[in-house]
Symmetry: C3
């Protein structure tokens, strides 16, 4: 069996390869990124949908590619250059080649005034315009005079691409993980998601006796998930039991969780349980704080059981959607620990069944070597967890619910459950 546990450094190295590729919701950046991911694990399939196709209330946009973009002054000095930082151009800008006075130039310039040394990340996917982004400091230094705005971009009838991985298990019931591949040079949002998920997929493919089928989606945000849902909604509603939007998982700050619209799905329950024991100080957010593709998965009528897993959550950290969210903002440890949380989540899901104690009254644990034979107060600590599990395993609550009641991490119960099954003290009451 090949090695499936990557080090944090391996994850970070992959992030370094993906980060510089210029991505938008369509175009060659997306394809190049998917090719790098497929290189990590060959199970990735690449799909496309033609520009102009109607997907629910939306239309697949034209393919957009960009060659160069800059502003130069009268001396031919480049003030900002797309080559230097790909955030300098407003995403999906129309082409332009014009000399303008400083005042007019400023009407095309976007900055983040409250973070004067950060370049904001700005896009305009659904209205035709062009524009440039720079730091507030740089803007304030622009002298009067004429400036040359150049954007060599091109719209063409092409397609929109996404990646998909399907790893079959014993059951047709699916667990789904979804992330985005449309953001350009941003580290946490979104180089981290694809990096962590491609390695999670590889790891899952090596689990023996896998019960669930796993589906991974690497999508352009919003339009990508809408397009995917427009083609697969019926299948997803029938088969998906838990889904996770995985985004902003590269930094090493606190963990975050955004609940699904209904808040009580299997995904919510397992992720909250795992996080509570992995790192009790994790941050929990209402669905009112949604912002990524859970907006589509949980929409009325779609109603899929997706919640969101992040470290520093989108919209909640200062560096979000600026040039400060770069490779320094994420870390090897941050990526690795996010992967560990998802591995724990999968491990718990695989054994999350309703167990029932087969024996009426307490089982005699002593003769099975599971209980001390000498009774004196304060000598039971180790056996107590087993007793609690068998006292609450009534075939009505699943593993997660029982663990919540007996205040034990499900991850630690997994070997105990195996032992109790083997001893025929418990049985599976229901899948």
């Amino acid at each position: 069996m090949e090695k499936t546990e990557p080090t944090g450094e391996e994850l970070y190295d992959l992030a370094k390869r993906i980060f510089p590729i210029y991505r938008s919701i369509t175009g060659k950046g997306v394809r190049e990124t998917l090719a790098v991911l497929k290189n990590v694990w060959n199970g990735l399939q690449i799909h496309e949908i033609a520009s102009g196709e109607k997907v629910f209330d939306w239309t697949v946009p034209m393919e957009w590619d960009i060659e160069e973009a800059y502003i130069e002054d009268e001396n031919g000095t480049k003030i900002v250059d797309f080559e230097e930082n790909n955030l300098h151009v407003v995403g999906y800008s129309e082409p332009v080649d014009r000399w303008v006075e400083r005042e007019e130039l400023l009407s095309y310039v976007h900055t983040q005034p409250d973070q004067p040394d950060a370049i904001p990340y700005v896009t305009s996917y659904y209205a035709k315009r062009y524009g440039f982004c720079m730091t507030e400091n740089m803007k304030n230094q622009l002298k009067p005079g004429r400036y040359h705005m150049v954007i060599r971009s091109r719209f063409s009838k092409g397609c929109m691409n996404w990646g998909e991985i399907l790893i079959e298990g014993d059951m047709r019931e699916e667990i789904c993980f979804s992330t985005n591949i449309c953001h350009p040079g941003l580290g946490n949002n979104e180089t981290s998601g694809p990096v962590v998920l491609i390695h999670l997929a590889k790891w899952i493919s090596c689990i023996r006796d896998r019960r669930y089928t796993y589906r991974f989606l690497f999508l352009p945000e919003t339009i990508g998930s809408i397009a995917y849902l427009s083609q697969n909604l019926e299948h997803m509603k029938k088969h998906i039991r838990a889904g996770f939007v995985v985004t902003c998982v590269g930094d090493d700050n606190h963990y975050s969780y955004v609940e699904s619209r209904k808040g009580d799905s299997l995904s919510d329950r397992v992720l909250k349980h795992v996080l509570k024991w992995h790192c009790p100080a994790f941050q929990s957010y209402s669905f009112l704080k949604r912002g990524s593709d859970e907006r589509q998965y949980c929409a009325p009528g779609v109603d899929l059981p997706f919640c969101v897993f992040c470290r520093s959550k989108f919209h909640e950290y200062k560096e979000y959607h600026t040039s400060k969210d770069d490779l320094n903002f994420i870390s090897a440890d941050g990526l690795k620990n996010s992967l560990i949380v998802l591995q724990k989540t999968v491990s718990v899901l695989e054994k999350n069944r309703k167990y029932k104690t087969r024996i009426l009254c307490e089982p005699q644990l002593g003769r099975r070597g599971l209980y001390p034979t000498l009774s004196q107060k304060n000598t039971y600590a180790d056996a107590k967890t087993i007793q609690n599990f068998t006292a609450y395993a009534d075939g009505c609550d699943d593993l997660i619910a029982v663990c919540e009641k007996i205040r034990q991490p499900a991850v630690h119960m997994l070997p105990i459950v195996d032992r109790l099954l083997k001893e025929k003290i418990i049985e599976v009451a229901e899948n």
Copy 2:
């Protein structure tokens, strides 16, 4: 269309006309009061039930009228006189004309010792007696000697009256408002209720495309609502969807709400929601703190969905049921703001339906001019409310429930709901 928005001063002027009329549960005071109200809005119908009629566990009392009542001393000086303040006589007193020593007189005198300068409001509807009310200070100044107690009252087989307004809407489902017209010279409890409700009725009669039918009741407290229920219970159980006892709504202190017995009816939900956004510091009371006609509407077997709306609640303010609850205790602003709360309540009820987003996945708000076309962080504030509404409008929750979830006042959502209906983004899932 006639002007339907009265000023606070108009409300207060009406209170000044009603306040001095001497009322009891039966008699000409009730009829005179109803006549004044009918003058404000002609839709008011006046009903009667004969003395001696059995109404559930009770009997309609004799009609009672009073000509004069006073205590005079040996010099012929009137110590207290009903002409001066109609609280000086115990309501529903038998006639009397006796000279007594001070000691005996005192056994017929009621005061409020903890408020020595207030005359208490005292009645004895269900046991025959007579008596006088005065301030504790006045009682303490009574010198030894003989006193003449005179009450010229008369019981007669007549009737008990009440007022009723029915304003029909598109549906037979009803919203009911109920107040009392049996209290004599008391401002908040109860000149304010009839004043606010007659103007609310007038205002509702001018709502276009009214969905609900509205019923207003102006009743003698307790026996009036029992009599009304004994005649109309079946109809009310079938049609009433929400009901409000409106009492003590004239002062300008905090707002109060008393929950229905079950606490979760439509009336509870809408009034709590409206008050929370109108004035978050409103005071909420358990049904254990009931005291007006909700005692009948919510009784076991009656089970109508009534809660109570007040400003300073009965039993909870010092001036309650004393001469201090007079025209100075209430105000133009107090009456007007109470009317506004009830208007908001009606407006929300009219649109409180289950809405469902018609579009799978998020609607493309941008091309409908409902969303900014340029995506940069922190630019979405205005559009967020629309997005939240469409993300939660799943056809299961009604408007109030969705607004609770998205933390928006339903009153502010009303024009947005109209716009979304017009854009065919949402539809009514159910009445």
Copy 3:
């Protein structure tokens, strides 16, 4: 009718008779104890099950009796002697007669190091061994040299015994009380339980018009309840409506309650309600803190509605399972007040039915002498409880639930309920 209300002193005298009898899970100590209890009330039946019988996952152990047990030094001085304190021998020890060096002796000696002057209570029912218990102080004074370990005990194929009382009522539905008779010289755990329950049984036998049938069990802990359940489970599941494990009820500290596994059974509701009003500071424990026969009664598949009533709860007081839990730890007042709590519990259960107000709208309490006829504010206090009861008695909530809502102790409502039934203001809606 014989006197059925024992004084605290009578309860304590019974404890003094039972305390010195040496008990184990089998053997003559159990039979002697049951004989003393039967002497208090003749309704007690004594049952037996043969050694070696399979009961669910367990086997009834051999009968064990002990004649003497001691350690003597080379001078023939007895270091510890079973005659002096029956905790000195490990319960269910094998016989032994050996001279050993001090070092070897220590491997057979158990102490409670954190309580150096207490002898711990130690047993080894399910693994063959022998041993002695002494204080940590005594152990530290043992000089080097040889010691004679003597235990004259005997295992024999005999039986295990328990006591049972059945007091029939009008209904076959049962209330069950269960305690233990297997602990040797310990006061709170467990001389107190049998003392309180035998007197509770005697008191219940004198209740006129008893509705429920009552069952009392005096069992060896764990194996006793398992054996009993293995013979009676079907009957118990069909008939038991509420059950109480009564243990550690002799001291005069706070009251304790351990919830059933599901936490919302009739036993939980009634005991919590009674304790809240009897002594609001009672201590409430989760089922995770279980430890007595509720472990069997609430096991998955057994699912009987048992909670636990204690004073200082097992495992939660320092003296627990040591020689410090003696006759000084319990008191006449402690035993008597525990009995009072259980008597209140029975009284409430007997009248805990769903009542329904027979009259639509409020009943006219005045003409029945239940309400003051003069209405002035603050004069209603006494009548308010009656009004609240009739306002909430809707035939859906039982007495306990109504009392929780109107914030009154059910014990105080019992005579009021009788009066309202007699007046035909309420009726029983359902048993």
